[in-house]
């Protein structure tokens, strides 16, 4: 990075450098790589090699189960793209992600604004904050069994709905083809909003008060203050967390696997469950790899925008 000026280079011999001295700059230059070596090694073993492997798998006729796989070109990709279930999974993943991200943002913003109110004491707000963050403290496996209990046809939710006259029969929340996708999306909304809420709350507390006072003097009401002060100030946070959420929600596996397993008749099949079943239920590792590489390519497009956005903010 730093180029040594010619004058300085010429001066060095005058000081009579020992061999040890000339080693110092090299050691200095190598030092950061020493500190980074565990990271670089792990990136190689956990990223570079596996991605190379999965791309190679996707071009072979069948791997892992077949001892001598042969090159098969792009036929596995053709098989994935011709599979109607794959396109159902694309559609479901898009719906699941789109609705989840919008609902997360709306709920997270709503709760953050409520928790940021100046109308209540900080102790009251602290109690509500702990309550609101609860869903975030549970692992997906727990969230899945918990909602299977609540959404059971004989469960407490159906009882409450029937009691209030909102439903007249037992709703099969997770087993009915017309409802299951909405149910798993709802569960994901429940489990994901606290992340937005806490990030936005931290953002709200960082907005300078005089911005609101200036807007107030200009005659802006609460809605105008929200649109013209709060939203622009929170924009970087909103874009960042929404991008991360899109990336992570499109990859959701455990929640679907433990609630519906992709069923009934594929109505909740996601790209992740589709690929998993190809590999570990049907042992078609090469077709599964082609699907996995397709998902990877899509994720890298998302990552590109995320990295570019982060860089633009620096």
């Amino acid at each position: 990075m730093t180029t040594i000026p010619k004058a300085a280079q010429r001066q060095t011999p005058l000081r009579g450098p020992t061999p040890r001295r000339s080693l110092v700059p090299l050691k200095r230059r190598l030092e950061p790589y020493g500190y980074l070596s565990p990271t670089l090694l792990l990136l190689l073993v956990l990223m570079l090699v596996p991605i190379g492997m999965v791309i190679r798998y996707s071009l072979m006729d069948n791997v892992i189960t077949n001892k001598h796989p042969e090159f098969a070109g792009l036929s596995n990709y053709a098989e994935v793209l011709k599979d109607s279930v794959f396109w159902v999974a694309v559609k479901n993943t898009a719906f699941f992600t789109g609705v989840s991200v919008i609902a997360h943002l709306v709920l997270g913003m709503g709760f953050a604004l409520l928790l940021n109110t100046s109308l209540l004491g900080s102790a009251t707000k602290a109690v509500f904050r702990v309550l609101y963050i609860l869903p975030w403290l549970f692992t997906v496996a727990i969230i899945a069994v918990l909602w299977r209990l609540l959404l059971n046809p004989n469960g407490v939710l159906n009882y409450i709905l029937q009691d209030l006259g909102l439903a007249n029969s037992k709703v099969e929340w997770l087993a009915s083809p017309s409802i299951a996708l909405f149910s798993v999306t709802f569960i994901n909304i429940w489990s994901g909003y606290p992340f937005y809420m806490m990030s936005l709350l931290a953002g709200l507390q960082g907005i300078p008060r005089d911005l609101y006072e200036a807007a107030h003097i200009d005659g802006a009401g609460p809605i105008n203050r929200f649109i013209h002060v709060t939203l622009p100030q929170l924009r970087p946070i909103i874009v960042s967390i929404a991008m991360l959420d899109i990336i992570f929600t499109t990859q959701q596996f455990a929640l679907i696997w433990m609630t519906t397993g992709g069923g009934p008749i594929n109505v909740t099949e996601m790209l992740s469950t589709f690929t998993y079943k190809l590999a570990f239920n049907r042992y078609e590792f090469s077709v599964a790899s082609a699907s996995a590489v397709t998902i990877f390519a899509f994720s890298m497009v998302l990552a590109f925008f995320y990295v570019r956005y982060q860089k633009a903010r620096d």
Partner: protein
């Protein structure tokens, strides 16, 4: 600017009402999980549902905690999560130090790689990981889980450690170096001790990711004695009859470590989760 008198009271009532509705949405499922864990299994779906039933007891907890198979799930989860946390912290401290205190070629591209690694789908890595672990005879071992979990925990941990070191003045480590000590001494004697808050944030977040992981644990282990808590919960569901009370008790026990960490280190939690997404 602050509303006064009656108007203020009306607004207060409105806010409390809205907050309470939200609290039911967030809290009721958790409350129901807790009360269900104290019921006998036939009482789970009794009509009308009751909060406290006739057979209120801690039996479900006793069953879980006296069953060596289920206790093993917890031991496995602790071993894996604590190992991942320790290893991640060491690797992230070293990398964060290099990225914060040195200028070197490829620094920017490396930063970009670390950020974008977070977006690589676990399902893409799962198939080659499975192949690798079988080839290396690490399939169905702790080591398979510890190694692969670091792919989730490291990028975040490095980004956060670099950010934390960047907030510390460079004069601190320069002073040590003037005394003739190397950069290693500067890092471990000076920077690490004053970075404890940052380390706690990173450590908690790492522990949580490892404690909650499901997909790799499902695929890279096979026998009951290697399964972790999330898989253990799924196994309870797979048996011929659903033991709902035991599932709920195991869920409560399974979320306790994270819950306790959260209650004691709330400030670090929030600092950690916002720093990870907002500043990188």
């Amino acid at each position: 600017m602050e509303p006064k008198g009656l108007r203020r009271v009306t607004m207060q009532v409105g806010v409390i009402f809205a907050l309470s509705v939200g609290a039911v949405f967030a809290g009721f499922p958790v409350f129901w999980m807790l009360v269900s864990s104290f019921k006998a299994n036939p009482e789970i779906f009794e009509l009308p549902p009751r909060v406290v039933t006739d057979n209120f007891s801690f039996d479900a907890y006793t069953t879980i905690l006296t069953d060596p198979v289920k206790v093993r799930f917890f031991i496995n989860s602790y071993v894996v999560a604590l190992s991942v946390t320790a290893l991640t912290l060491v690797v992230a401290i070293l990398a964060g130090y290099a990225l914060s205190r040195f200028e070197f070629p490829f620094k920017r591209p490396l930063n970009m790689v670390i950020v974008s690694v977070q977006a690589v789908p676990p399902i893409t890595l799962l198939i080659p990981y499975f192949g690798l672990m079988v080839t290396l005879h690490l399939y169905n071992t702790y080591f398979a889980l510890i190694l692969t979990y670091m792919v989730f925990t490291l990028p975040y941990a490095i980004i956060m450690m670099t950010g934390y070191f960047n907030t510390l003045p460079k004069e601190l480590d320069e002073a040590v170096k003037c005394d003739g000590a190397g950069t290693m001494t500067a890092l471990w004697r000076i920077l690490v001790p004053i970075s404890i808050p940052g380390l706690v944030s990173v450590g908690i977040y790492t522990f949580m990711i490892a404690w909650n992981e499901f997909l790799f644990a499902l695929t890279l282990t096979r026998t009951e004695n290697m399964r972790t808590v999330p898989i253990g919960i799924q196994l309870l569901m797979g048996q011929h009859s659903f033991k709902w009370n035991e599932m709920m008790a195991m869920s409560i026990l399974g979320c306790l470590p994270v819950l306790i960490l959260f209650l004691f280190f709330q400030r670090y939690f929030i600092g950690g989760m916002t720093a990870g997404s907002v500043k990188s």
